[in-house]
């Protein structure tokens, strides 16, 4: 009887904590993904190759997240896109705009500062 109660409690708290971790992980990744996408688009790429490059570097991103993000960044003027034919197929190529380059530089500086602060905090602890 107590064993069942214990298992049920463990499962409930275990599921809740993994859900909390998943939510926090997503929040942490969201900002990093923007920087990663901007950094990858210093060289012109189309959606699929960009996704593949990010996945190869350990930042897998699904289609449903990447394409709306690309739209948003383009609307904000950070990216420029162009439909072009390659291998007899129409593909949309993205690259960083001049404004995007400036913002990326600022974001990287901010990221480095956050990273340094975090390292300092962790060392103090």
């Amino acid at each position: 009887m107590w064993y069942i109660v214990y298992v049920a409690y463990y499962m409930a708290t275990g599921t809740a904590s993994s859900e909390v971790f998943e939510n926090l992980r997503m929040e942490l990744r969201r900002g990093c993904l923007i920087v990663a996408v901007l950094a990858q688009l210093r060289c012109e790429q189309y959606g699929y190759t960009l996704r593949k490059a990010l996945a190869d570097d350990g930042l897998a991103i699904d289609e449903g997240t990447l394409y709306p993000l690309l739209r948003r960044l383009e609307t904000q003027g950070l990216l420029a896109s162009q439909w072009r034919e390659e291998d007899k197929r129409n593909k949309r190529f993205y690259r960083l705009s001049a404004e995007g380059e400036l913002i990326l530089k600022q974001l990287l500086a901010e990221w480095e500062s956050i990273n340094a602060s975090l390292n300092k905090i962790l060392q103090e602890a």
């Binding site: 959606g47 699929y48 996704r51 593949k52 289609e63 449903g64 394409y67 709306p68 197929r89 129409n90």
Partner: protein, 359 residues
């Protein structure tokens, strides 16, 4: 060789067809305004690239099951559309607190009291003695009323949201005008006392005018109804209670150092109201009449069409008395708690000072 090429072409045909079917299903769930063609072309291209990569990896054209696996990994059309499409909500986070407040106010503080005090008694009076069906009808009406009201409020807020999304952000406020932090010991506010005095004077004047102008409580029905001896008996105690209530703000203003008085006096007032209501309920129990509060005027006494009106008014007064009794009971409990907390704080503060003095 020809077999392989025919297999290749049929495979590419299959993949194109399956991808088109998938995109069509995704498009179904997307809003028309959301650049569907552009997005769909990009998503389709992504899927084709995935299939090509998989074919290169496996060294043969994909069969239907393998292609289906890729699409399955991509997610159900509805889910993909949800991720690709714009963030959609009926009422956004800026308006939601106001929406929630309005729904609560309308449903709990307007609709429910209206049904308890007005619709319920009317249904009871029209039920011809069938109380159960009257109660059921009232609950049914209340239920549909709640749904309709909630629906209308939601619709109005959704329209506001669509027309002016930034309404919540535009509300002007001044941080310097925020109310001060509440402390345990609240000083009696002179403004509050003056307002209380004003309201009590108004209430007393209304009560004193009632015998001469019953229209103030009965409205147009005053021409048809008159008060029973039971109401006359309790009229004077209620007037006295109002006079006592009138003194309360005066004492608060005259003796601001009596911090216990603004807490104890409403409790005493609630106790007096409860005693009076209990006497009234006792007297009601002893009254055999079906019309204990108001009866028809002599001129219309024999008119059967006004019996129902008299019944409804009597029932409304009865339900109102029950509601007031219930509300005063709750407020008396709350007032007792507040007063006891005040006493406990004063006692602990006094004992703290005493212990410091001993040291």
């Amino acid at each position: 060789m020809s077999k392989t090429s025919s297999r290749d072409s049929s495979s590419s045909g299959n993949s194109a067809e399956l991808i088109d079917r998938y995109l069509q299903a995704v498009r179904f769930w997307l809003p028309k305004s959301h650049r569907q063609d552009d997005l769909m072309a990009e998503l389709g291209e992504d899927l084709r690239c995935q299939i090509e990569d998989k074919e290169t990896e496996l060294g043969h054209p994909l069969d239907k099951a393998e292609m289906a696996a890729i699409l399955k990994r991509c997610g159900s059309p509805m889910m993909v559309a949800g991720r690709i499409g714009p963030q959609r909500h009926l009422i956004g986070p800026a308006l939601f607190p106001i929406y929630e407040f309005t729904v609560k106010m309308v449903l709990l503080w307007i609709l429910v009291p209206v049904f308890v005090i007005i619709v319920g008694p009317v249904n009871l009076a029209n039920s011809g003695g069938d109380w159960a069906s009257a109660v059921l009808n009232t609950f049914g009406d209340l239920w549909s009323g709640l749904f309709i009201a909630a629906g209308i409020i939601t619709l109005v807020f959704a329209m506001i949201e669509r027309t002016n999304t930034h309404l919540g952000a535009e509300i002007k406020w001044d941080p310097l005008k925020l109310p001060p932090v509440r402390t345990g010991e609240r000083k009696p506010s002179p403004l509050k006392a003056v307002c209380q005095f004003g309201f009590n004077v108004f209430g007393l004047a209304w009560l004193l005018l009632l015998p001469k102008y019953p229209v103030l409580i009965l409205g147009p029905a005053a021409a048809l109804l008159r008060a029973t001896p039971l109401l006359h008996t309790f009229y004077l105690p209620f007037v006295l209670l109002s006079v006592v209530a009138l003194l309360r703000p005066g004492i608060i203003l005259a003796r601001p150092q009596w911090t216990w008085f603004p807490l104890l006096s409403p409790l005493l007032q609630s106790a007096l109201v409860l005693i009076l209501l209990n006497y009234m309920i006792e007297a009601l129990a002893k009254t055999p009449s079906a019309y204990p509060f108001v009866v028809l005027q002599d001129a219309v006494r024999d008119s059967p069409k006004y019996f129902k009106l008299a019944g409804i008014v009597n029932l409304s007064i009865l339900v109102s008395i029950a509601c007031v009794w219930f509300a005063v009971c709750i407020s008396a409990i709350v007032q007792t708690r507040v007063f006891l907390r005040h006493v406990r704080k004063r006692t602990s503060a006094a004992s703290g000072i005493a212990s410091v003095g001993v040291r």
